[in-house]
């Protein structure tokens, strides 16, 4: 997958390897590096907020495994106490997720009060108070016909847009399944028409999932094509990059390509996510063996956008190998920050061609 551009970039010094300072000698690269590194202080954890939801979607991560059966703590004071403790142990960014955070507005408010950087994963059917100034990720699983079938919700996209049109917190997240690839074009056109921003997610099968949404090699390839077409067509509304498309539609999942550092797959507690990340359930407990951003996902099939945001970003060292690889990584991180951090402006992508994930070829041969 390595392109001619990259070959041209090959260095011909004593060991054929690039120095980091040489990669940063390009002022555009240096500027982007300085822009993204300001956010290296982000330390995330995720929190299930409610054990009920106003819809029920096929393949939903929340309603897999045991976490759905945990008690729901709805006392804002207990949540506030948890947030204070989280802040104390260095958490600077919260992801408020399952089952549907918009159903517990008082909990969102106390989280925001204690840790003002974060994101809410919502189905977008309820409006969240503007006082909670987190980014809001609104999940889209296809056109309205598909949503009715898979999510059992009528006129879903129209209702989501009605709630979040002109809301600077809103990012629509289109999850590609094996069955909804072609529908993305009408959905993206509708979102563009309403001036809504869009990014992409990949359906990643829960453990034991046997349904028809799981991707195949053919669907991965078609998904990549669709992503790149839309990125070219709506560059001001689609928050994505070529390298995002590569990382999330590769025949191998994120764990094989990048060594997932979440506690569930990483026994080390020395540094990074393995040390600080927790995934809290609705009863405010957490389990290291289950801790990742999408618990109960089959790790070998994980291409989830939230996972990639941490997994790919964490591999700075590996991507500082040559200018093109580093630009691809910068695009990925710039995309991740624009999707997750309120007010972070997406820059123009620096690498507009396909780059192979570093080490992937060696790794896949073994």
């Amino acid at each position: 997958m390595e392109t001619a551009n990259n070959q041209k970039n090959r260095r011909n010094n004593e060991d054929g390897k690039w120095k980091f300072s040489e990669i940063l000698a390009d002022p555009i690269v240096r500027e982007r590096w300085e822009k993204v590194r300001k956010f290296f202080f982000l330390r995330e954890s995720t929190y299930d907020m409610s054990n009920h939801c106003n819809i029920r979607c096929e393949g939903c991560y929340y309603f897999e495994g045991n976490k759905q059966f945990t008690a729901e703590i709805q006392d804002p004071l207990l949540w506030q106490e948890l947030m204070k403790k989280e802040k104390k142990r260095g958490i600077t960014y919260v992801v408020l997720a399952g089952a549907e955070p918009s159903l517990v507005p008082s909990l969102l408010a106390v989280c925001y009060q204690e840790i003002p950087l974060g994101c809410i994963a919502s189905n977008g059917l309820n409006k969240i108070s503007p006082l909670v100034d987190y980014n809001i990720h609104i999940s889209v699983w296809g056109n309205d016909e598909t949503s009715l079938r898979v999510r059992r919700a009528k006129n879903m996209l129209q209702r989501q847009v009605d709630n979040y049109r002109n809301d600077p917190r809103a990012i629509f997240v289109y999850t590609f399944t094996r069955e909804n690839i072609d529908e993305v074009f009408e959905v993206a056109a509708f979102l563009k028409k309403n001036d809504c921003r869009l990014t992409f997610n990949m359906f990643s099968s829960p453990v034991g999932y046997k349904g028809g949404l799981r991707h195949t090699e053919e669907s991965l390839s078609r998904t990549r094509e669709a992503m790149l077409t839309l990125l070219a067509e709506y560059p001001n509304h689609v928050l994505f990059s070529h390298y995002n498309a590569v990382a999330h539609t590769h025949q191998y999942g994120l764990h094989v390509l990048y060594d997932c550092p979440y506690p569930r797959m990483n026994p080390s507690t020395d540094i990074g996510l393995g040390r600080s990340f927790r995934q809290y359930r609705t009863d405010l407990t957490w389990d290291r063996n289950m801790a990742c951003c999408v618990p109960d996902t089959d790790c070998s099939d994980c291409r989830h956008y939230a996972a990639g945001s941490a997994v790919v970003t964490a591999k700075l060292f590996r991507h500082a190998a040559d200018p093109e690889t580093f630009k691809a990584w910068l695009d990925y991180v710039d995309t991740y920050l624009s999707v997750w951090v309120r007010g972070y402006p997406k820059g123009k992508n620096l690498c507009n061609h396909i780059m192979c994930p570093p080490k992937a070829e060696t790794r896949l041969k073994n």
Binding site: F40, D270, I271
Partner: protein, 87 residues
Amino acid sequence: MRTEQSISDIILRVAHVMIEELKLEDVTPKTFDPDIDLVDEIGIDSMDLATVALVLQDEYGMRFDEDDYPGLTTIRLIAEYIKDALS
């Protein structure tokens, strides 16, 4: 004596890079305790350590192994790693 001096020089340089790159305040290369735990005591994370490792690679013309640098959590450990790589 020369060996000891050498490791001391590297320690000072590593401390300097760390202060510069991570914009650490209230510490100088000379006052930076080389045995302080960078993760526990200073709050350095994996991205910070990767950045420092990349800059030090340039300075010393050596390579850190991707699997090794996350375990180098004191300035002395980093300096010893560099010294071993250079010898």
